[in-house]
């Protein structure tokens, strides 16, 4: 037996040994529960000062000035937020973040046994030929990639060996092939 195996067996033996528990433990635990929660420490003085009720008297003119000040601060904050926004709106700018449907994961597959490289190119990656390379399954010439897509309608094509554009044979053809090589179209349902 190796030294490592011996140590392992020894650890197992130790773990198997019964654990002795103090018989008075149960009694102490029950007593503690019956005694109720321990008294909280007194809050710091500053908390008491902040939470103390007080009456504030404001004159009508003072109230008006205070309201104007709050409105001015709100407008200032809004302007700052608008300035901080990027110049180009995101694609789903009209959809609030809380109501955005979750993207669907879509698998694209094409059979190209003699290809050295295949890329998925379309509306979803700004037609960038290097953004979404596809991976070959060993031996059978099947290339695939999965892409998360928001609900919508997308035009796309496969680029084989960096020069041959192919439509997806398993998807409808797009009609708007303004540049010659055909495209396919995919409609991703909303949830």
């Amino acid at each position: 037996m190796t030294e490592r195996g011996f140590l392992f067996d020894r650890v197992v033996e130790i773990l198997k040994e019964p654990v002795a528990i103090d018989p008075a433990l149960d009694r102490r635990v029950i007593k503690g529960i019956l005694a109720g929660p321990s008294p909280r420490a007194a809050p710091p003085a500053v908390v008491g000062w902040l939470t103390r009720r007080r009456t504030v008297s404001v004159s009508p003119l003072g109230g008006l000035a205070l309201a104007a000040g709050i409105a001015g601060l709100a407008l200032l904050g809004r302007s700052a937020l608008q300035l901080a926004e990027p110049s180009t709106a995101p694609r789903t700018a009209t959809v609030a973040a809380s109501t955005e449907p979750a993207p669907s994961v879509v698998q694209f597959v094409i059979v190209a046994p003699s290809a050295a490289t295949v890329s998925l190119v379309g509306d979803f990656n700004d037609w960038n030929v290097s953004a979404t390379p596809m991976r070959p399954a060993p031996g059978d010439g099947i290339w695939s990639v999965t892409v998360p897509l928001e609900p919508g309608r997308y035009r796309y094509a496969f680029l084989v060996d960096g020069q041959t554009w192919l439509a997806d044979p398993s998807a409808p053809r797009a009609f708007d092939d303004d540049f010659g090589p055909p495209n396919s179209v995919l409609t991703v349902r909303g949830s």
Partner: protein, 209 residues
């Protein structure tokens, strides 16, 4: 002096709007000359409340496919015109996705009147899927007028999921050897209460959702 300061402040305020806005995604993808023309078309489209995204995508597609600048500009211009026709037909309250799908339907052979009728039949529902399915049906070989008739026949009651199921069923039937027209006829007969696509049978009145 004061007048000069006021004029300068006014110029500073409106100055950025004088120049044509530049779409950052086109930088480095199009030649400077093509980009200027496309940016001008994007500005014009923005001013008419047309969706910009499909136009940018079309220009980027042309760049990836190494199309000439002239061809890219022509493609963006053509799509702009289609988006305008779709928006006019669908109404000013239509969403960008509805307008984009409407433009696809126009390219597939539908007319502005067809889209307007679709809007009338589906007043309170999105037209995106219906218009997209119309284009997809034409893509699998259904004649445009037949596809339009089928989509309009279902317009009053069909859910988006039913439109998508119709398209998937027709695609499957065609892949198995059925003719596109007969596949669509059978599927619409099954789905539409009042569908009459060759069998000549009238069904009970349409159910309302």
């Amino acid at each position: 002096m004061l007048r000069s300061i006021i004029v300068l402040m006014c110029l500073a305020a409106v100055g950025p709007h004088w120049a044509t806005a530049q779409e950052p995604r086109l930088v480095g993808r199009l030649t400077a000359e093509t980009r200027v023309q496309v940016d001008a078309m994007l500005d014009s489209a923005r001013a008419r409340a047309l969706p910009i995204e499909p136009l940018v995508d079309r220009a980027l597609e042309g760049a990836s496919k190494r199309a000439s600048g002239e061809r890219i500009v022509a493609a963006v211009r053509r799509l702009t015109d289609e988006l305008q026709v779709a928006r006019d037909a669908l109404g000013s309250r239509s969403t960008p996705s509805e307008i984009t799908a409407g433009a696809s339907a126009l390219r597939a052979g539908a007319t502005g009147d067809d889209l307007a009728q679709l809007r009338r039949l589906r007043t309170d529902r999105s037209l995106t899927i219906a218009a997209a399915v119309l284009a997809d049906l034409v893509a699998v070989g259904v004649p445009a007028d037949t596809a339009v008739a089928a989509v309009l026949a279902l317009a009053e009651f069909a859910l988006d999921t039913e439109y998508l199921a119709l398209r998937e069923n027709v695609e499957r039937d065609v892949a198995l050897g059925a003719s596109p027209v007969s596949a669509l006829g059978v599927r619409v007969e099954a789905a539409a209460p009042q569908g009459d696509f060759g069998a000549g049978t009238q069904r009970p009145p349409a159910r309302k959702p």
